[in-house]
Symmetry: C2
Subunit: 243 residues, 2 copies
């Protein structure tokens, strides 16, 4: 374990895209500060995120959080942060083929997460859900019937080819990300996911396997883990969850 303390910046009230990074840091037992979750008097709160977005300073300003600061390096974009940090945390094998595969899987999970977000925001992120509910209902039907089965069927097949619960054959950060996406989908679409469960046994086992990891179990039980809610990437609106 290196001595570097990671500084992590993400909206302090939601899991969102930041949660993929939090899970990696937690699983590795890495020393990190979740800066925006500190009190405002200690430099925390949403203001901490806004400050990072407007600091054109030396390096490249990020377009959006999550943001990770590691020494002098400041970086954004979830998959980019994970590709940087995973080798340092022992969360991806050393060889190039594994790293390329991990990044490919992470980006595919990110696509699925983005599509899940756009179910409740099909028109604009600047409008409330209630102001795009008609469109959301229509989109949800397609998402639940076509997209979830297509994506999860793909990940099920990957696990089948590995004969186990690890997308790369050994534990890596993409297992944590898969856990997060599955947890989010179960929260947002409980009925639809329950209907699919029997066809996706490998995914079920993979989710259980991650939840049983000692540091993840401790994290999920701690107040560092924010609850899913109606402001994040995955949201539970019963009307969007076809039975």
């Amino acid at each position: 374990m290196t001595e570097v303390t990671y500084e992590f910046y993400y909206w302090p009230s939601i899991q969102g895209r930041g949660e993929f990074v939090r899970l990696a840091l937690e699983d590795a037992g890495a020393p990190y500060k979740d800066v925006a979750r500190l009190p405002e008097q200690e430099g925390g709160g949403s203001k901490a995120v806004v400050r990072m977005l407007s600091e054109a300073g030396s390096g490249l300003p990020p377009f959006a959080p999550p943001i990770l600061k590691c020494g002098a390096l400041v970086m954004a974009q979830t998959a980019n942060i994970l590709a940087f940090v995973a080798p340092r945390l022992g969360l991806v094998p050393d060889d190039e083929a594994s790293r390329v595969a991990a990044n490919q899987l992470q980006l595919t999970l990110a696509d699925l997460a983005d599509e899940a977000h756009d179910v409740h925001h099909p028109i604009s992120v600047s409008l409330y859900y209630e102001d795009q509910k008609t469109e959301a209902l229509r989109r949800a039907g397609h998402f639940v019937k076509e997209r979830i089965p297509k994506y999860l069927g793909y990940f099920e097949r990957v696990l089948e080819s590995r004969h186990g619960p690890h997308l790369l054959g050994v534990h890596s950060y993409v297992d944590l990300s898969l856990f997060q996406v599955l947890s989010g989908l179960h929260y947002a679409f409980p009925k639809s996911m329950a209907a699919l469960e029997s066809r996706l046994p490998m995914l079920g086992a993979a989710r259980v396997s991650v939840a049983a990891r000692p540091r993840i179990r401790a994290y999920l039980a701690s107040n560092r883990r924010l609850a899913f809610n109606q402001h994040g990437l995955f949201r539970h609106y019963p009307e969007l969850d076809a039975s």
Copy 2:
């Protein structure tokens, strides 16, 4: 220049997400086969892409194209392919900070491209545009008025901080990707982009600078460059282009 011949797989009738990879290979003068654009008798056509998607074979099957084969390694996801191939093509500086910054910018450009796609497909990729036109009209208003200016304003500021036309300060694959996104937006939303142009002088210069690169100029004039059309990521529906 290495002797490896890259095999590239993408739908043969559209630029789509594959075009970001094509531009990198072309700019570097890399030896590559655009497999699906070969005649079917020579193993080409859409079937070549479908074959790659269903080949569970040795490695990780891709969820979707673009796909690049480099020796024994097969990889998918545009940003992943570019992060792998750019160092080999001399299209990104050697240091880690530059590579992290390049990947961050590429993923942000990918987010913008995805949002542009979802303007004409806000409900489902399985429906025709005509069957989601009402929703598309509503989404387009927000995209053109809020999202394009927000994203392009960001990239303009990055170029300002570099005092030149290169997002990393020197030529890299993300300049090619920026060129592609700007070209696509100009094709899809000509009136909206014309209205913005005077506020984005650095982006205008960056686009001209890429188009003037000898290999890119030759590529754009060749029949290897597919035309923008109504089946790709960027589509021109005049009704979606607010004046």
